[in-house]
């Protein structure tokens, strides 16, 4: 027997009470772990961000297009190693609900700027040789059950063709994969020229460019150079790193994180009060035992540690079980939704935050009981029978 034995026995002296407390702590940490892991998964949707990749968009907003001519002008700059234009298509298949996130792109330059994506060479050659070819991501292929060689009518909810319809017949010529799990492949690319030529309005517009500088140290200079090129024109540009672009895009999710923090915060405030008052009650029930321990010669600091350890143990048992369950849940659900939202897993940062919260909860709920126990006056406590 040692102090840890005593701590454990005291904690579980009333089994039902201990188990109820553990369950409430478990639930709080399950909620915390799962919500924040999903939140991280959603805001981490941009996947592998290249350090030397820049994004140029219209200074007004990334929903306002830029002229086609910008492509050549930016490409001509010295600091630009590779550049690729992109435009929104807003695609869906058969039902508007069945969205296929689609971009009009120049496949040849696209896969140079995004080297983390791979396409089989024969499929790629085929896709480049035919104008009505689409290159779709692995996730799209999985979700829709599509294969190379299929012909698909792809509708747009943004654009109209000059023949009055909004449907583009495309051949699935290639499927691209990502080198890393958290790089999304849940979108499709169709040929810019083929798409552009048939538009009834808004021809020759580009939503944004992605480009490589070849050296992260040159990012700022190149961005400044690009934006200077179009300064005082009707379509000024804003060029930023892909990471910064992702962040500004994710600022929209900022409110969700705040709401999550409030919800989880409320859950923690509740268990803090429940566990806190229960632990105070628990120590008051055994003041006399504490006095006996002191009489036997247990020093006050040791008693302080033992009582504090009880709350920390409680918090760790409930918290670790909760974190474990959250990790299991996130892993299972993450695998199931990988095609829609890749890279959902339990991030180390969330697990570490969880651990810190466990220790914090244990310390806060254990402090009052520990001080109470440490201060017990033997004579007063033993006098009460």
């Amino acid at each position: 027997m040692n102090d840890a034995t005593l701590v454990r026995k005291n904690l579980f002296r009333k089994k039902a009470r201990a188990i109820l407390l553990i369950i409430s702590i478990f639930i709080a940490f399950l909620i915390h772990g799962a919500l924040f892991a999903f939140n991280a998964g959603m805001s981490g949707g941009f996947g592998a961000v290249a350090a030397d990749r820049l994004v140029t968009m219209n200074r007004a907003s990334f929903t306002v297009p830029m002229p086609y001519a910008y492509w050549g002008r930016i490409q001509a700059l010295d600091g630009v190693e590779a550049i690729t234009p992109l435009n929104w298509v807003g695609g869906y298949y058969q039902e508007p609900m069945n969205q296929i996130q689609t971009f009009a792109a120049d496949p040849e330059s696209y896969f140079i700027v995004y080297p983390e994506l791979t396409v089989p060479a024969d499929q790629f050659a085929d896709a480049l040789s035919r104008r009505d070819c689409a290159i779709i991501g692995r996730s799209v292929a999985n979700v829709q059950g599509w294969e190379v060689g299929q012909r698909i009518p792809l509708s747009s909810n943004i654009w109209q063709r000059d023949d009055g319809t909004s449907v583009w017949e495309i051949d699935i010529c290639a499927i691209f994969d990502a080198a890393l799990d958290n790089v999304p492949t849940n979108y499709a690319l169709i040929q810019y020229d083929y798409f552009n030529e048939s538009l009834a309005f808004g021809r020759d517009s580009i939503a944004w460019f992605s480009l490589l500088t070849g050296d992260p140290d040159r990012n700022d200079a190149v961005a400044a150079e690009i934006d200077a090129l179009f300064a005082n024109s009707p379509n000024e540009t804003r060029t930023q790193t892909e990471a910064a672009f992702g962040e500004s895009f994710m600022a929209m999710f900022g409110n969700i994180a705040l709401i999550l923090t409030l919800v989880v915060g409320a859950a923690f405030a509740t268990i803090l009060m429940i566990v806190g008052t229960t632990m105070v009650m628990a120590i008051n029930e055994r003041i006399k035992e504490v006095a006996v321990m002191k009489t036997l010669g247990f020093p006050a600091p040791r008693i302080f540690r033992m009582v504090l350890s009880e709350s920390i143990l409680l918090s760790l048992v409930g918290g670790l079980l909760g974190l474990l369950a959250a990790t299991g849940l996130v892993t299972l659900v993450g695998a199931a939704i990988a095609d829609y939202l890749p890279g959902v897993h339990m991030p180390l940062s969330v697990a570490l935050t969880s651990l810190a919260l466990m220790l914090g909860l244990g310390l806060i709920t254990g402090l009052i009981p520990a001080v109470t126990a440490m201060r017990v006056k033997i004579v007063d406590a033993l006098g009460k029978s």
């Binding site: 005593l6 036997l296 010669g297 020093p299 033997i378 033993l382």
Partner: protein, 231 residues
């Protein structure tokens, strides 16, 4: 004063203030307790018996005066030092046993050994011996709830002697027991005194219990009255 007394009390006073009123429990008490003594302290309720025992056990401090144990003062020690002193020198026996309900008899007896540096093997030996001495080895795995009052008090005595203290301080150790259990308990204390040389100070209301001691002291109105020992 006895030359090599275990305890020497001099000018010992204990007062409480209740509001504006000051109550003196006893004042200028002088007493020596030699090694190997077995004293029964008797006296009316409220006369200060428990208070005196607490001063001897270093769990209460006098208002004035000195408590010396083996020549060294313990009345002015810090809480931390008193904890150490108690763990090393004093064994406590209470009227209501005060065992830990979550621990078995053997674990209750082991408690004071957590304050020592003894090996696991040595601990087990000590626990077994202590339980043997009080005659309750067969109940080592039982929890207090599963034991009678008399059996619980034996476990408590085993706990008090397991760390081999010099003095046993017992506050009405038979106050909650029937006659037969009380006699068993008192015989055990007598044995610990005569065979193992433990000095014992026992507070009791029961004249029959007091007969087991070597001498009886009556505390009344802050004064000691000694009766001739019968043992």
């Amino acid at each position: 004063m006895t030359a090599n007394a275990l305890y020497e009390l001099s000018n010992l006073s204990k007062r409480y203030t209740r509001g504006r009123e000051e109550i003196t429990i006893f004042s200028d008490l002088d007493m020596a307790i030699p090694h190997g003594d077995f004293i029964a302290i008797m006296g009316p309720s409220g006369s200060g018996k428990t208070t005196l025992l607490n001063l001897l056990g270093g769990i209460d401090a006098p208002s004035s005066g000195e408590v010396r144990f083996e020549g060294a003062r313990i009345d002015n020690l810090s809480q931390a030092k008193l904890s150490k002193w108690r763990a090393a020198n004093a064994g406590f026996i209470f009227q209501f046993y005060n065992l830990m309900p979550t621990l078995t008899a053997a674990q209750n007896v082991e408690l004071p050994l957590l304050l020592t540096k003894l090996s696991g093997k040595e601990r087990r030996k000590r626990i077994a011996t202590a339980l043997e001495i009080v005659g309750i080895a067969d109940r080592a795995g039982h929890r207090p709830r599963q034991l009678s009052g008399g059996q619980q008090q034996r476990v408590a005595i085993a706990r008090a002697i397991v760390a081999d203290p010099k003095v046993l301080l017992a506050d009405e150790p038979t106050g909650d027991l029937d006659r037969a259990s009380a006699d068993e308990t008192l015989k055990t204390l007598q044995l610990l005194n005569s065979e193992m040389g433990k000095t014992i100070v026992m507070v009791t209301h029961d004249p029959a219990a007091a007969k087991y001691a070597k001498r009886e002291l009556h505390l009344d109105k802050g004064r000691f009255v000694e009766k001739e020992a019968l043992a």
